[in-house]
Symmetry: none
Subunit: 317 residues, 2 copies
DNA sequence: TTTGCTCATGGGCAATTACTCACCAGAGGA
DNA sequence: TCCTCTGGTGAGTAATTGCCCATGAGCAAA
């Protein structure tokens, strides 16, 4: 019984010490003097107060909610990187805030002094992010595009992001001199066998970090809007369970690549290893929810940059 | 990337750093790495977060000694509410600790779902408490100031607390468009007869809970320091037995309002009924002892938030 | 354009804090 | 009674943090 009351008294002391430390801002030495104990004991009491959750810290800032969501996402999906930006309340645009955040993240990688390989996917959101990049000189790095740069009509694909990136960033960049979709698996094989293409493919496979957009499916999704797929093909895909697309690779709600689909004809570099490198998806919005969720569940990506509203839906789902 | 010079962005970063440090428990080195800044910058952001009061620390523990004192106070003076916080041993500041405790109590009232009327007095201690409040949405409540918001020189009275409160709390708030002291009893009557003022007076009278500071008298007391009373007037008051003031209402050591004094000219709302509502005084310190004691003895207040040392003196006296 | 001011930065260093180790005291069981 | 286990203590040491200073960028006034 002495033990019980001692424990109680110790918690009181812990509370007192914690109060003096955190609220009154005194040092542990001063607390030790005030309570007539050794400095080490004061330190123990303070850390006990923390461990017993007597001390509650709160952060009054809109960012706090975002950071908590990011932490939750990281935990739920085992991510290497998660970033949540505040939702634009009036937000209809799919790039508000997220583009800046993604640009900041890209910039962090570009600032590294050691040479790395950065792979870049495609998509409007990613393009908006890249457009936010300030001019930089990064001759130590190599930047490689995961997707072909030739559109369905033979012109340059507009949302091939690597050219926008090359405008701002001085680095060696490697576009893919291929269409986005081949007409058949055989054609893809032939094309991929070219020396130039092969080295680019190899480069992509070695990427240290990859940034990709995430496309939703449906007749309003980017694959259709940009003319890579016809309306009928798309409807068939959706009927077969397709939920989203990254660099043209189509997957279902669990993030499993579809086998009997256009995936045989996608000319893109396979998405780099999520074991050995960071693959960061950049997307937000209700329309993309299934696509983002699938990519996370199937571990097609191991990093995400999104907004508050989307993060909440991802966590509740 | 956004310009680093903009204040908003810097505060966001400070919030991020503060969150990572206090909530996630990372070291400043880790934060620096995560945010791609130097460790020193991370440290600056963390201390900025503290300086900007983005970080709020609260101690959640009923400390035995304080509880005992609180219980004794409650019994001795028949109080509805008594709260005692640990004294800062080296404490010179009159707001350390007590402000947090008072803020917690105010927050408890604000969190009530049923609509209530909260009346707010004045004073430095009370202002410090209100400054600790986190942003809240409480549209169901009404907050009314007991004192005028026009200072002796015609400017806005700085320690009129309701405006600070309005910054953090989203609720209907009703300041008093009056001076603190009128030049005569007649002027007061005229002013109080205005329709707008009358409705505010009425609102104040209906308050469910009232928070007031307690001011000591003397030439160093707030009435003099803030220029509401001249030195001579004050000395006369003290000679006549004045011991303290709440919202400008001056009372003696037994808590009886003085009849022949400035009380005829105080424009404040009468202190709400202690029979039907809670009137909580917030004060500590040896200088205020007579003022606090008088307010308790005369039942001008029926609740007190103070510190350990003051509580002990109140009980021994 | 120059000048002067403000403010963020990074380095270095001293103060402060956290952790590990060895030891001790009391409770409870064999 | 003795042993062991739990939980606390102080010392020493490594890690972390706070502060000062010189520097340089951005900006407004001259």
């Amino acid at each position: 019984m002495a033990k019980r009351s001692d424990t109680q008294g110790r918690l009181d002391d812990a509370a007192r010490a914690g109060w003096l430390y955190y609220v009154a801002g005194r040092t542990q030495d001063e607390i030790a003097a005030a309570m007539s104990i050794s400095r080490q004991s004061a330190q123990r009491l303070v850390s006990l107060a923390v461990a017993e959750r007597l001390i509650k810290v709160r952060l009054d800032h809109p960012i706090a909610a975002c950071l908590e969501l990011a932490e939750a996402l990281r935990k739920k999906y085992g991510l290497r990187h998660a970033e949540v930006v505040p939702s634009d309340p009036a937000g209809s645009s799919s790039t508000v805030g997220i583009a800046e955040a993604a640009a900041a993240e890209i910039e962090r990688w570009l600032k590294r002094p050691d040479p790395i390989i950065i792979a870049i996917g495609t998509g409007r959101t990613l393009k908006a992010a890249v457009d936010q990049l300030p001019p930089m000189e990064c001759l130590q790095h190599r930047i490689v595009s995961l997707t072909g740069n030739i559109g369905p009509d033979g012109s340059a694909a507009f949302y091939n992001v690597i050219f926008s990136m090359a405008d701002a960033i001085k680095a060696r960049h490697f576009p893919m001199p291929l269409p986005v979709l081949c007409s058949s698996a055989e054609e893809r094989e032939t094309l991929h066998d070219q020396a130039l293409v092969r080295s680019t493919l190899q480069l992509g496979a070695q990427a240290d970090v990859t940034f990709v957009g995430i496309g939703e499916l449906g007749v309003d999704g980017p694959l259709c809007v940009d003319g890579f797929l016809g309306r009928e093909e798309m409807l068939t895909l959706v009927k077969n369970g397709a939920a989203g697309e990254i660099c043209g690779w189509v997957y279902d709600r669990q993030g499993q690549l579809l086998g009997n689909s256009i995936n045989d004809r996608v000319a893109s570099v396979p998405i780099p290893s999520r074991e050995k490198s960071s693959v960061i998806g950049i997307a937000l919005g209700k329309k993309k929810l299934a696509a983002i969720s699938g990519a996370l569940k199937g571990k097609i990506i191991n990093g995400i940059i999104t907004d508050e509203a989307t993060a909440e839906q991802l966590l509740s789902g």
